[in-house]
Symmetry: C2
Subunit: 322 residues, 2 copies
Amino acid sequence: MNTNMEKPYVVGIDIGGTNTVFGIVDARGTVLASSSIKTGAYTEVEDYVNEVCKHLLPLLEANGGVDKIKGIGIGAPNGNYYTGTIEFAPNLPWRGVIPLAALFEQRLGIPTALTNDANAAAIGEMTYGAARGMKDFIMITLGTGVGSGIVINGQLVYGHDGFAGELGHVIIRRDGRLCGCGRHGCLETYCSATGVARTAREFLTASTEPSLLRSIPSESITSKDVYDAAVKGDQLAVNIFNFTGTILGEALADAIAFSSPEAIILFGGLAKSGEYIFKPIQESIDKNVLNIYKGKTKLLMSELKDADAAVLGASALGWEIK
Amino acid sequence: MNTNMEKPYVVGIDIGGTNTVFGIVDARGTVLASSSIKTGAYTEVEDYVNEVCKHLLPLLEANGGVDKIKGIGIGAPNGNYYTGTIEFAPNLPWRGVIPLAALFEQRLGIPTALTNDANAAAIGEMTYGAARGMKDFIMITLGTGVGSGIVINGQLVYGHDGFAGELGHVIIRRDGRLCGCGRHGCLETYCSATGVARTAREFLTASTEPSLLRSIPSESITSKDVYDAAVKGDQLAVNIFNFTGTILGEALADAIAFSSPEAIILFGGLAKSGEYIFKPIQESIDKNVLNIYKGKTKLLMSELKDADAAVLGASALGWEIK
């Protein structure tokens, strides 16, 4: 982290399909001020940038002005670090290739970098969280999908085209569940929050075992419902987590054979299911990993605070700008 | 590559289970002199080091002496770059952890680095071969086993413990073929030369289809026999390559989702089967890779010359020593 007295803060902007959250962050990871707007309300990207700036500028003024900001980091779906563009993001209102980093840089006169949300989370974890001081780790985000940010030799892995690190789309079951990407058996069809809900529906159909989940209309079951049932001792719910954790552990054992990381850090709603999900993941890693890696890679929970995690992750990229 | 006029050469030592080959190499990748000894003939590692030096020193004298050597690079099974040690290598005569880099360094007074053979091949390819100028690529060695050397951001990926990059041991068929590592379904049980021979035996048993391979005793069929039969138009042999290439392509599609490399470079005996193996691999990558990576990663053949490849690969590490 390259801080100095003149420019002691960074700005983080996290762009989600629903909300855009942004804030000013200091070197210790304290969010000094933050706000948000609805992403989907702006069909023209220029209007969107104007609206973010309209809300951001007063926050900047209250914290010493734009001159105090070392850089802006943006986390966005389909974000390309090399070009600062968002490319064909299906859940955002703007089509094609959007030069978002350049638009903010022009508008505010602050150096701006952009990457995808999972990469931003990894940089956030390395700067302020559980991966401080680590040179080799993998961040796994368990949300609607499964994302990943891979750090090797202290550097984020972007690949030759800026799109490396899509571990949610390794094939973990050949000819398995149909994925939104059009292929079958991707990790995220099993281990995302959506995947857990899908497993719940499958398990409920496949047996007549009693379960608290049977009182919920099948199509509206969420991973949170499964967690709540598991906490109450529901065996079917526990089985769903075991199934999910086993598959995730298989994929992580393969990922360890690739980069032999010091730690794998889990982030996102599903990671908060605690031991229900951590225990089967750890058991599955231990069972499936190649002998030379056994017991070496730590499985950790993200240390970024929920409410601030998205802004912190994006902001951390602001420190990296040369 | 950090060359200078005073120290214009490096030494490469490639340690195999049968032979140890070593030579002096210049900055263009020309092997100026080389020799070899039998690895297995020396049960004490000190005797082994003495014997290598006994053969190497006259070569050095004939090329300007030890003062002309920038560094020694060693490629060895189970080699750990961080510690310069060989650790529990099942096919070498020395047990436990062997500080081989230190032994050569003390004996010859030349800075020495060590890594495993696939990593050495990757550095060799980056220094003298098909990966010159590339920052992101994956080297796949198809020999008795399947090895890999991964380069990201221009750096070899060693992982936190020095043992990263074991793509031969990702699980490509859950509960598949038993592997020498004790697990089931590892890539190398299908896509190594040994794996191809195993497939040949399976295919010959599973059908009564006529094949040139039926004239060879089942247990002695090699991947070379399969290649020779394929060249003669034997359909069963062609099917064996298609099966092998399909599985390798599936694994490579997953590897692309990890590091999005500019190229994947194939090395080793099996890679020399040319289109018989390249075509099904390429088709399988195209079929299995995530959309955003489609058509981006080149599939290349190693450009290191056979006879010199092992020494060149190991020697390239000699340039990297700081």
